[in-house]
Amino acid sequence: MVSFLRFFINGISLGSVYAIIALGYTMVYGIAKMLNFAHGDVIMVGAYVSFCAMQYLQLPPALSVLCAMVVCTVLGVIIEGLAYRPLRQAASLAVLITAIGVSYFLQNMALLIWSSNPKVYPSVFSVGAIRLFDGELLITSETLLTIFANIVIMIALTLFTGRTKVGKAMRAVSEDKGAAELMGINVNRTISLTFAIGSALAAIAGVLLCSAYPTLQPTTGSMPGIKAFTAAVFGGIGSIPGAMIGGLLLGVIEILGKAYVSTELGDALVFAVLIIVLLFKPSGLLGKPVHEKV
């Protein structure tokens, strides 16, 4: 029972990281209708930046996270402006391949700068842990922080898109680009902003991911990226609460699957659940069903 609880909490923690990454995917998809495959690599960049800030500049962890967020935000906006904006009218597959190109680019850039040797990410927030059940259940501060960060981000984003003028503009652009433009919304700037927010979140996710799994390599971001993307689809791509629920469920399923079914098949289980969900709800858990008008 206690071990189940431990796995469950680990699952929630991993799921929170997925959820934060998935938010980036879902927002970008919702607004630009594109799968930003490079998103996972932005996570990796964020983790490296914060690593360097702490290691070489001796900055305190909180400041290093801030550094990572700034760098990733700028990176996200640059990527969008240089690689995706010229393709706004192009076929979605062309944009997808470009995103893959950007992903290769970031990975190989990181390889040149930081080499392929894995770096051991320092435990950023080790301020002790909570011990329950006579020390059998250990909840680390990283776990708590991840879950806490997830909740804060979720609330902040919901308020932002629901209440603020800019947030409403984002929703308008994702509904109908043309109509939003006619209403005087600057579509390009709104899309840039979405990339900026998504990339800043990716930086946070990178730091949290590496605090929990401290091996940092140029390919660190790709698998969590794919899984977070799966989580976004799972919850209904384009939906913010959907990304949250999808991420958490995915994390829990993965950890429990690895613990109780088979270590090798943990990932397979995650994807199998995704497929089953999509068969019954073809647009994800919280996605809006699309009707084709005849």
Partner: protein
């Protein structure tokens, strides 16, 4: 009789492939081919077949598939097992026959996987279909990591997650296959390219192929014309899986060791890049793109450590150049104007 436009087009494709093969043979015979390029010959054939078969799904049937490497891995491992079984149990000496049977076996098993995956996948649409094919690709890889095959006398033994099998181990779970009898030949790779071209091009210009393209262009209208959408989507998907499985078998039997991690998501994406760069729905383009992009990292050897970075930049630039309206217009202007050789259909017919 006047040849139709697409007949001529297809002929050009066949001639191009045959000419390239003859050129390679000449280079091999006269020793003009570098060692590294020689090693790339069979992989190039494999990737061409992969790209052509994926183009059937992405270009002709219009569905984005991100799990094509999964079929390749099913083909590779079943081909390896088949080849070892034929050699072990039947003392089959003839390598060509063994390779042919192994490829057929790879095609059949990949086809079965295609049917199993197609049933749920093809009910979905667009990006959801894409993510599910990705998921299946990953599931196949995970399952392959847990499968153990051994040859016990003349019997094949299979187990799931249990490495303790009697006999010679053929496939050892995550460690993959080792000591594979390398029987793949460049000639067979060439034959497989011709076969897949034959299948795909002939399919496209037939009743079934037209139905597949009609569904791509307008599903609702196709249904209203009495076309069974699931049947034809499935046909394209499974045909593509069979060809990928055959290519996989050729690939698997080209290396002495191979693991399931060779057929990751990245491989699926790589093949998709060939298809998109070559032009979606353009079979000849797929062939050219697969060839160039497989050789490109070799050609970029001068860049040393920067070569994958350059590859990424080339990829992005090509996408921007071919898809951005302003840039495309710019490049159109650079190109020397040709007088149009063949009149447009309207002019030609009414004259």
């Amino acid at each position: 009789m006047k040849l139709k436009k697409n007949t001529i087009n297809n002929l050009i494709t066949y001639i191009m492939v045959i000419a390239a093969f003859l050129l390679c043979q000449w280079m091999l015979a006269s020793g003009k081919m570098t060692r590294s390029l020689k090693g790339q010959l069979i992989p190039i054939c494999v990737y061409i077949v992969m790209a052509v078969s994926l183009n059937l799904v992405v270009g002709i049937s219009g569905e984005l598939s991100l799990g094509h490497a999964g079929f390749m891995s099913v083909g590779a491992f079943s081909g390896i097992v088949m080849s070892a079984w034929l050699a072990g149990a039947f003392q089959m000496e003839n390598e060509i026959v063994r390779l042919l049977l192994a490829m057929a076996c790879g095609g059949v098993f990949a086809g079965i996987a295609g049917v199993l995956i197609g049933i749920p996948v093809l009910r979905l649409r667009g990006d959801y279909l894409a993510i599910v094919t990705l998921a299946f690709g990953e599931i196949i890889r995970n399952i392959m990591n847990c499968l153990y095959f051994s040859l016990d006398g003349s019997r094949i033994r299979i187990s799931f997650n249990n490495p303790n099998l009697p006999g010679t181990i053929l496939i050892n779970g995550p460690a993959g296959a080792a000591g594979v009898d390398k029987i793949s030949t460049f000639g067979m790779g060439f034959a497989l390219i011709l076969f897949s071209l034959f299948v795909v091009l002939n399919l496209v210009n037939s009743r079934s192929g037209r139905a597949i393209m009609a569904i791509r262009d307008n599903r609702i209208a196709a249904e209203a014309m009495g076309i069974n959408v699931t049947k034809y989507k499935m046909m394209a998907f499974v045909t593509s899986a069979v060809l990928a499985g055959m290519a996989g078998a050729l690939y698997g039997l080209n290396f002495s060791t191979i693991t399931a991690s060779k057929f990751k998501f990245d491989t699926s994406i790589l093949v998709l890049v060939f298809v998109v760069l070559g032009g979606i729905g353009n079979i000849r383009g797929s062939i050219i793109a697969a060839t160039l992009l497989t050789i490109l990292p070799e050609l970029l050897r001068a860049f040393n450590d920067y070569r994958m970075l350059v590859y990424a930049i080339v990829l992005i630039l090509v996408m921007l150049m071919t898809n951005n309206p302003t840039m495309r217009a710019f490049f159109e202007r650079l190109r020397p104007k040709r007088s149009k050789g063949e009149p447009t259909a309207k002019e030609g017919e009414s004259a």
